[in-house]
């Protein structure tokens, strides 16, 4: 599915990287430890996290991730938004906890394993 479709189905609010919302993704990764994401996420994964520092944009570009879903009502830091726009990394916001977001994505066919 595309990021836009996921946003509609899960009630996510896109706040950056809007040009890339037509991007398709089929897999995801959830972790709040950046080095863990660097080690284990796959290119094209959607990343679910509570981290809001601009480091997440660096990791997302390094790993060529489809986009970032920030959970629990968290807001990205100003620098994070700026960098996300610069790099066109999609950030989508959710008030739901990570477990709920991942569960709903899974029900829609998004898996976490190759």
């Amino acid at each position: 599915m595309t990021l836009r479709e996921a946003a509609e189905k899960l009630g996510l609010r896109p706040v950056a990287g809007l040009s890339r919302l037509t991007r398709e993704f089929g897999q995801g990764y959830v972790s709040d430890l950046l080095s863990d994401v660097m080690a284990n996420a796959k290119p094209g994964d959607i990343w679910v996290t509570l981290q809001i520092h601009q480091n997440i944009i660096a990791v997302a570009t390094l790993k060529e991730l489809a986009g970032i879903i920030l959970i629990g009502g968290r807001q990205p830091e100003k620098q994070t938004l700026a960098k996300a726009e610069e790099e066109q990394v999609p950030i989508l916001l959710s008030d739901l906890p990570a477990f709920e977001v991942v569960g709903r994505l899974y029900q829609l066919g998004i898996t976490g394993r190759k």
């Binding site: 430890l33 950046l34 080095s35 863990d36 660097m38 520092h53 601009q54 480091n55 944009i57 660096a58 990791v59 570009t61 390094l62 960098k83």
Partner: protein, 181 residues
């Protein structure tokens, strides 16, 4: 990174890439002040003020293969998440001092982890560089200086397998005596 010993290895690799001939790693666990400090001091090419400021920007790197340099930003985050901070002091042609502080008892403060393997990796990967490791905790100190080890070894290289094995044992027992291994 899973633990602080991997962060240390990462940052010291920076020091080596900057042409250091000597790197000093100091770890201090101050229980009464509830503070842990890791300091990495090198004598590499250093950075001017502008560069030193950019060093914590994950999109700043001197690498040519990548636009992203995450070593220092990740360590800075580890400090921040445990109520500490990262300070960088650097002088061109003199060297760099990276000082990472953490609240020792903070629940999100990463453990030190396998510092022995970090030290062995550095010693074998770059035997020509002098490495000092000094760890202080509750009034006791464990320290090791490869400059002295090499002086004792004479012509025998630091990375000879028998030396590696002896060093591993020396470091392990030293850390155990300190209560950190």
């Amino acid at each position: 990174m899973q633990d602080l010993s991997l962060h240390i290895l990462d940052i010291v690799e920076n020091s080596l890439a900057a042409g250091s001939r000597r790197v000093e790693i100091r770890v201090e666990e101050n229980m009464s002040a509830d503070r842990m400090v890791i300091e990495i001091v090198d004598d590499g090419c250093g950075m001017d003020k502008a560069r030193a400021r950019k060093a914590l920007d994950p999109f700043f790197t001197t690498k040519t293969v990548r636009r992203v340099g995450l070593g220092l930003p990740l360590l800075e985050e580890a400090c921040r998440l445990s109520n500490g901070e990262l300070r960088i002091q650097s002088f061109p042609a003199k060297g760099t001092r990276v000082r990472a502080t953490f609240q020792h008892s903070h629940i999100d403060r990463k453990p030190l982890g396998n510092i022995r393997d970090t030290l062995i990796t550095l010693m074998i990967g770059h035997p020509q560089v002098d490495l000092l490791y000094e760890h202080r905790k509750e009034g006791k100190t464990f320290s090791l200086d490869t400059r002295e080890i090499k002086a004792d070894l004479g012509e025998i290289p630091l990375d000879a397998p028998q030396v590696v094995s002896a060093l591993r044992t020396l470091i392990q027992s030293g850390l155990e005596e300190l209560g950190v291994a």
